[in-house]
Symmetry: C2
Subunit: 296 residues, 2 copies
């Protein structure tokens, strides 16, 4: 299994799925549609869709069923990046190596593009029968995504993140923030893909959920490590930007060595949760390893 080529295939596939679902640039209101497409297309590591396609392969769910639901999750992730980058939030100039949405357009357009992208995400889940012909299944996916994106999920985590600037958090407090800000959406990716395999038992679903929990936290620790050790080119944003903003990070709380050890331990725990799956879960395993060893 060649992870690099698998990720390329998934990247092209999710870009096509997003492209089909985003409003065309030439349709009214054009500027808003251009901003939406600018922020969503041509960039990003697409880790969340990759986790969904990989979970689907492990569970024998056809990838055709994943396109719409992976698009919905990626839309939620991308809208949150637009809003997080705003001057009133993290005030970032660069994202994925290009000007952030509010720099390329303007603040009002960026706010509205984010809002419209979130609405589109839920519309896609409600509308797209290729995800599942069963309405109850799609309804459950909307419930999961609504919860993961909301005040007790991603939006709440970002609020906690902003409140933490310049404060010294305990490790538990910072982990709680990350579990909300990025963890719940990452967990929802695996949960949603697993939900499309009705034959899956509860124990197996719990194991996959535990896998996603570990991976979500490991992903965040690695992000913090890269913020210190990475290069602006590969990060797509200025190296050291979290530090510069006075945000608490894993290395700043427990040190660099301990951070790396913790990411590795979570990675190992994640892989153990997948032991019940056969070689069709190899892509999911490779992804887990990739997440804790992303290029600097």
């Amino acid at each position: 299994m060649d992870l690099h080529s698998e990720l390329q295939i998934i990247g092209a596939r999710i870009d096509a799925a997003l492209d089909r679902r985003l409003p065309p640039e030439h349709t009214f209101p054009q500027r808003l549609h251009r901003a939406m497409r600018y922020a969503v297309l041509d960039g990003g590591k697409r880790i969340r869709p990759a986790l969904m396609y990989a979970t689907a392969r492990a569970l024998d769910v056809p990838w055709d069923a994943i396109d719409g639901v992976a698009a919905a999750v990626e839309l939620v992730h991308d809208y949150s990046l637009i809003h997080d980058d705003l001057p009133a939030m993290d005030d970032d100039a660069l994202r994925r190596g290009r000007p952030t949405c509010h720099r390329a357009f303007d603040e009002a357009t960026a706010i509205l593009a984010g809002d419209a992208i979130q609405a589109l995400a839920f519309y896609v889940l409600a509308h797209d029968t290729t995800i599942s012909a069963d309405p109850a299944t799609r309804l459950r996916l909307i419930e999961i995504l609504g919860q993961a994106a909301g005040s007790r999920g991603m939006a709440g985590g970002q609020a906690m993140d902003l409140a933490s600037v310049g404060k010294s958090l305990t490790l538990a407090e910072m982990e709680d923030m990350h579990i909300h800000k990025t963890g719940l959406l990452i967990r929802s990716t695996v949960l949603m893909a697993a939900h499309l395999q009705p034959g899956l038992g509860e124990t197996e679903r719990d194991r996959l959920d535990h896998f996603a929990k570990c991976i979500g936290l490991a992903f965040q620790i690695q992000d913090d490590i890269l913020d210190v050790e990475g290069h602006t080119d590969t990060l797509g944003k200025p190296q050291g930007s979290d530090q510069a903003q006075g945000k608490p990070t894993y290395p700043s709380i427990v040190g660099m060595e301990e951070s790396k050890a913790r990411a590795l331990a979570l990675h190992d725990e994640a892989l153990r949760s997948l032991e019940f799956l056969d070689e069709r879960a190899d892509l999911l395993r490779a992804l887990a390893s990739y997440i804790v060893s992303r290029p600097k």
Copy 2:
């Protein structure tokens, strides 16, 4: 039928429905939850929920089925007000007679509160079985709301509104903007309530839709009239704020007399669309009249 007391009953009912669905203030993250409740509860004319309860009465849909779906629509409306009031958008200080959300809290919290409220709206529709036990019905409601809120609905209309500042629009261009910014969400209220009566024929649904279209536009014309003739106290925002921002309004394009005549004509057309309904539609009729004669 006493419209005033009906509106009071509906106001109390929708406030209770929203209160039950919003996260409690004491749960984490508290500040975000306080901001969400601040922006949603204790205020607003609740015109959209009123249209839904009134449509339900006209069509013999139990009001218990409306609580959740009216809450979802009101949540979408309220989140849009939070974002519209932001400095990067209309930069308003007052809303419903109180400081706007970003003034009472801060900009970042207001952006995130809006985001979380939108997610909550879709979650409510997916989660709330009292709306309808049939998943396909709730899925269709999510589709309608997702479309009405998105880039070709409310968010798109707000983008058109911002782009219109300082420009001279034709009447057709301005109406197109209003149809998107407020019209589609108002239309969706009647459409969603009608959707909960499976026995309704297509012709009847089309008539109700036409009613909602007329009322949505009449509502906006009246809004523009009140911006000129109303008082800050009853408006809950500074009188003349649209004019001051250089926004094109009905009176500024076609004059005050013509604006009033047009609102009245739309009102009459709306009432004609309801002729197929019996006296159970009287609340809906009274609401239509209220909308074109709101107090100054």
